[in-house]
Amino acid sequence: MDAFIELDRVEKVFDVRKKTGFLKRERRQVRAVDSISFSVARGEMVGYIGPNGAGKSTTIKMLTGILTPSGGRLRVAGIDPSRERTRLARRIGVVFGQRTTLWWDLPLIDSYKLMHRMYRIPDERYRENLDRCVELLELGDLLDVPVRQLSLGQRMRGDIAAALLHDPEVLYLDEPTIGLDVISKAKVRGFLRELNTERGTTVLLTTHDLQDIEQLCKRVMVIDHGRLMYDGPLAGLHEIGESERTLVVDLERELPPIEAPGARVVKVEGPRQWLAFPASESAAALVARVAAAYPMVDLSVREPDIEAVIAKMYAEQSEKAVS
């Protein structure tokens, strides 16, 4: 497989001026992205995660040509984004999570018509793509509604469609599910999966929601303090981070702490008990064991908090560095 996105020791250094007194300012250099290397093959779907300010957005901005790297080599589809930003723009789609690019006061369809002409999409392609997006993202009833009247979830779906009408080879999504309700999240995820498998569109998404990654990405990259901390399958991330999921069990009545191999009770509150188990293990086996031995009324599984996973991983790395 050919590498579609290639980063080789890419850096981005910002000069930050901080006020230290009434008129005094201190100049300081901040490495937002610190020598990052990775490559993404055509057709991959990759999750790009990390805490706020870790360098995620800066990376995306360099990939789209919005920012020019301070060092290293960066190529997308063989193009240097910062040099040929406008040419690259035809081949990429970008969805900025909380910033809509749709026209606030106009019906949704008008924004699409603008994309049609701005990207000079052939009529036939435009019709096909629009129809597909409308069907899969369930936009049919929304096309004639002014964007300002759409809900957050509807608007996000509208934005995703707008980014795809010109058949981009790669789609960047910045927090595509932030603030969405469960149903909207499911629709967005289902659509992205379809897009990736059916059309082979390369997808790179940043998110705070570990479920996005779990349901969509085979591969995840973790960035913190501008450095790539991890690049591999999600399961591996859990192993490294030793992260735990939580099984919340509602029993028929108050009982002593559940005893189940591979899990430990971390909290008891009346008939409700919280069991922690390694995120890398299947929940099904544990549920079966508990259900067999205890009178269970209800249960739910809580995913590990991504920030916690990263924090743990980070602590471990620095420990290693010390020893």
Partner: protein
């Protein structure tokens, strides 16, 4: 893509985006009519100020009302055109602050065209209309021995003047990339510039006239050519052909503004915000 096709692309994109804004504003039709009338009235207040002054005196700096009205009409109309075309560039600082400027950078069309067409508002026709009305009256009222050259100078002044003001808008926008809150500095040159040009150059100190002629050549919007049309001496010595120099001055201003814009955009892309 060559320079020319990039320019054509830009114009096309400008038209597309401006069209979207016009349709957006038409969703509030009464508001549109009200604000257009308001725009005309508001910008006309400057001329009302001149009328008030002339209710007390017969001439200002040696110029009659009709002559000052000619300066006003030329300045207001040329500025009005530039304001219609690029007048919303002062929202750029806000776009950079809220991050939506980034969304313009991932489009396959020139950023300048997108920024220029941003918040395009036909209500700005109000300013052009009142400027043109004053201009029309003044052309009928001034005592001028019209020659072919003088007649030709009127449209030349409007077009060159609009281009010079456009250049000021673009340079101001480039400055806003560096200092986002400083839209008002731009106002000093745009609104300040058009106000300056509404009064006879003889009113102002020589230093100021010199600055407006050679440093920031606003004088070529109307002062220099209009002085020629009216047969009035210009406060500082200029060769006679200077009256016809507005077009090349405008081209030079636009070229410099284009360079400023490029370096501004480069600064943005290397520092981010």
């Amino acid at each position: 893509m060559g320079e020319r096709s990039a320019f054509a692309e830009g114009l096309r994109a400008y038209g597309l985006i401006a069209g979207m804004w016009v349709r957006s504003s038409m969703t509030y039709r009464t508001s549109f009519v009200i604000t257009m009338l308001g725009n005309g009235t508001m910008t006309g207040l400057d001329f009302v100020g001149i009328l008030l002054m002339f209710s007390q005196v017969d001439s200002l700096g040696g110029w009659s009302l009709a002559e000052v009205a000619l300066l006003y009409g030329l300045s207001a109309t040329a500025f009005g055109i530039a304001d219609l075309v690029l007048g919303s560039m002062d929202v750029m600082g806000a776009r950079i602050r809220d991050g939506s400027f980034d969304t313009l950078l991932v489009r396959p069309v020139p950023v300048l065209a997108q920024v220029g067409a941003d918040h395009f508002a036909l209500r700005r026709l109000g300013r052009i209309t009142q400027g043109a009305l004053v201009l029309g009256w003044s052309l009928a009222a001034v005592d001028v021995d019209w020659s072919a050259a003088k007649v030709l100078l009127v449209p030349v002044m409007l077009v060159s003047g609009a281009a010079i003001f456009c250049a000021v808008f673009v340079a101001g926008a480039a400055f806003q990339i560096l200092v986002q809150d400083a839209a008002e500095v731009q106002n000093a040159f745009t609104y300040g510039g058009t106000t300056l040009l509404q009064y006879p150059p003889s009113v102002f100190g020589k230093e100021l006239v010199r600055g407006a002629t050679f440093m920031l050549p606003l004088a070529f919007v109307n002062w220099v050519p209009a002085s020629y049309v009216l047969g009035r001496p210009y406060p500082i010595a200029l060769p006679e052909w200077a009256a016809f120099a507005s077009p090349p001055v405008a081209v030079a201003c636009c070229a410099l503004a284009g360079l400023a814009w490029r370096s501004g955009l480069r600064a943005y892309r290397s520092t981010g915000n």
